[in-house]
Amino acid sequence: MRAVETVFERTPTFKDCPTHYCPGCGHGIAHRLIAETVDELGIRGRTIGIAPVGCAVLAYFYLDIDMLEVAHGRAPAAATGMKRTNPDKIIFSYQGDGDLAAIGTAEIIHAAHRGEQITVIFINNAVFGMTGGQMAPTTMVGQVTTTTPLGRNVDSQGYPLQVSELLAVLPGAIYIERCAVHKPAEIRKTKKAIKHAFQLQLDGAKGLTMVEVLSQCPTAWRMTPTEAVEWVEKEMTKTFPLGRLKG
């Protein structure tokens, strides 16, 4: 009889419990990639994460590390307070596009501008997910949301905000990469990017590191999970091209 061999298993820092995320959502994948990174780098005992306001507010139920929950958009400020007083700790914030690109725009820009040695995982799904799918600054032109019933109109609602491109011009931001989690090849690249960002912080690199992750939100997009991954590939990457922007 052949012995059963384990070829893949849950990484210990990713808790063994069901998540509250919808079928087809990208958050679970991003969480797993962070947990794998923490375990592979062996930094669970010195990592502190920050959960945003949004769907990922409960991230601390899935990631088995010390975590802080903060006010909407303020994670980069809280992370600043944490990292400055605990330079030996690895501090990361996990933020959605409502959190980071709308209400928290000032905090992310200034954390990058000061060159805070923190890592930001920026989940961009082009909507406010938890509140039911309103327009976010990152919403595509023409995209229908609950607050753009006729589609996003640039004349009155502006263009999608490209935060990674904005941050990449700041000297204090040393590594910015945009990735996606809609197919295995991209998931692997995202993992590599997250690990690289954490490694830079671990090495004491002088500045902010950020990985933007395009993530599918079938519920708020009113799509099936399959349609959602196709939409990331065909639509989102046109406005938000994948790749390394800095560092």
Partner: protein, 353 residues
């Protein structure tokens, strides 16, 4: 040293690990002082991009168990209310100094006591309180700092020091007492076994204020209220002078209390039986002390540099047992000894002369 610089040095003596602040008059001396002194001490100073960021930097540092503070003046403190509510909800200690200026709106940069409601009622959203101290001299401002950090750590809640533009700007001789406060002894504090320090060989710690499960938030609120009752029971501080047998008692805090002290002394020289009560803790409020003073009939006069805020707490304490009157100046106006004395005379004439 002006009051602002004195309180900054006192915070360093009190063991503040990190200071975060944004410029606003009339408290800019604190930020400037800290920008020089904190690095000298090997501690953290960050000039934030806004008061929103400053209070959230405090939030982050405090969550890791560090002593953190920020300072501002009225409009900036309004912006910090979100963070204060989150600090209260997450049970995090912090010290916030408000060097009050005139409002509402941008108001002006002159001294005021117009933020009493905001400080003593919670200020942000939700059912919470913040311990509020109302020092009346630069020395007391200095003594307040280590006391405030200890209170914050003991009760795991934000403590607000309510100063004003006069206290912040004026110079008085002070004694910096090392780690020992002249007025209030240092306390033995509970360990910060809840802090986020990295889950090294232990279970994870979570610091949060979101409680979705049915009944969970009510449980948190009950716990907070129980703690607030302990604060009300143990931490009330007030001073009084010639209250027994007085026909009029003037209630005032902070700088206004010093003006009142002068007016009461002059009134007594004129044969008016006047006394004063000075709440040092504004929350918890000295309700019992004032209620006791109201047992034999006397007139209460509350004097504030506002349109009448603390007077509501005095009325609640007196609870209809005696008349409570108010005299105040606002928008940078400061009552003079003569104005308060005249008010005392007016109120006591029908009875005495």
């Amino acid at each position: 040293m002006c009051g602002n610089e004195a309180l900054a040095e006192a915070a360093i003596i009190a063991g503040v690990d990190a200071y975060f602040g944004y410029p606003i008059t009339p408290q800019n001396e604190i930020t400037a002082y800290m920008s020089r002194r904190m690095p000298e001490e090997g501690r953290i100073f960050v000039q934030s991009e806004s008061e929103l960021a400053a209070i959230n930097m405090v939030f982050g540092a405090s969550a890791t168990g560090k002593r953190a503070m920020t300072t501002s003046s009225s409009p900036g403190i309004s912006l910090m209310q979100e963070g204060l509510s989150y600090l209260a909800g997450a049970e995090l200690p912090a010290v916030v100094v408000n060097v009050m200026r005139g409002g509402p709106g941008l108001g002006n940069i002159a001294p005021s006591q117009g933020d009493y409601f905001q400080a003593t009622r919670g200020g942000g959203h939700g059912d919470y309180r913040t311990i509020t101290l109302g020092p009346s001299s630069v020395q007391e401002l200095v003594d307040c700092m280590s006391f405030a950090f200890d209170l914050a750590d003991e009760y795991r809640m934000p403590v607000i020091i309510l100063a004003d533009g006069i206290l912040g700007q004026m110079m008085e001789p002070i004694v910096l007492n090392g780690a020992e406060s002249a007025k209030w002894p240092r306390r033995k504090l509970p360990p910060k076994d809840w802090a986020l320090t990295g889950a090294n060989g232990r279970e994870q710690h979570i610091v949060r204020s979101l409680w979705l499960k049915e009944g969970a938030l009510e449980q948190l609120n009950d716990k907070l209220q129980e703690r607030y009752k302990q604060v009300e029971k143990n931490e009330v501080i007030c001073e009084q002078y010639e209250v027994d047998g007085a026909e009029i008692v003037v209630v005032a805090y902070g700088v206004a209390a010093r003006i009142v002290r002068g007016a009461v002394s002059k009134a007594r020289e004129e044969g008016i039986k006047a006394g004063w009560i000075r709440p040092v803790t504004l929350w918890p409020f000295p309700t019992e002390q004032i209620s006791k003073a109201a047992e034999d009939f006397k007139i209460f006069l509350t004097v504030e540099m506002s349109c009448g805020q603390m007077v509501e707490d005095v009325k609640l304490a007196v609870s209809g047992k005696a008349p409570v009157l108010f005299y105040g100046r606002s928008g940078g106006g400061v009552p003079t000894v003569e104005q308060v004395l005249e008010k005392i005379r007016q109120l006591t004439i029908p009875a005495k002369r």
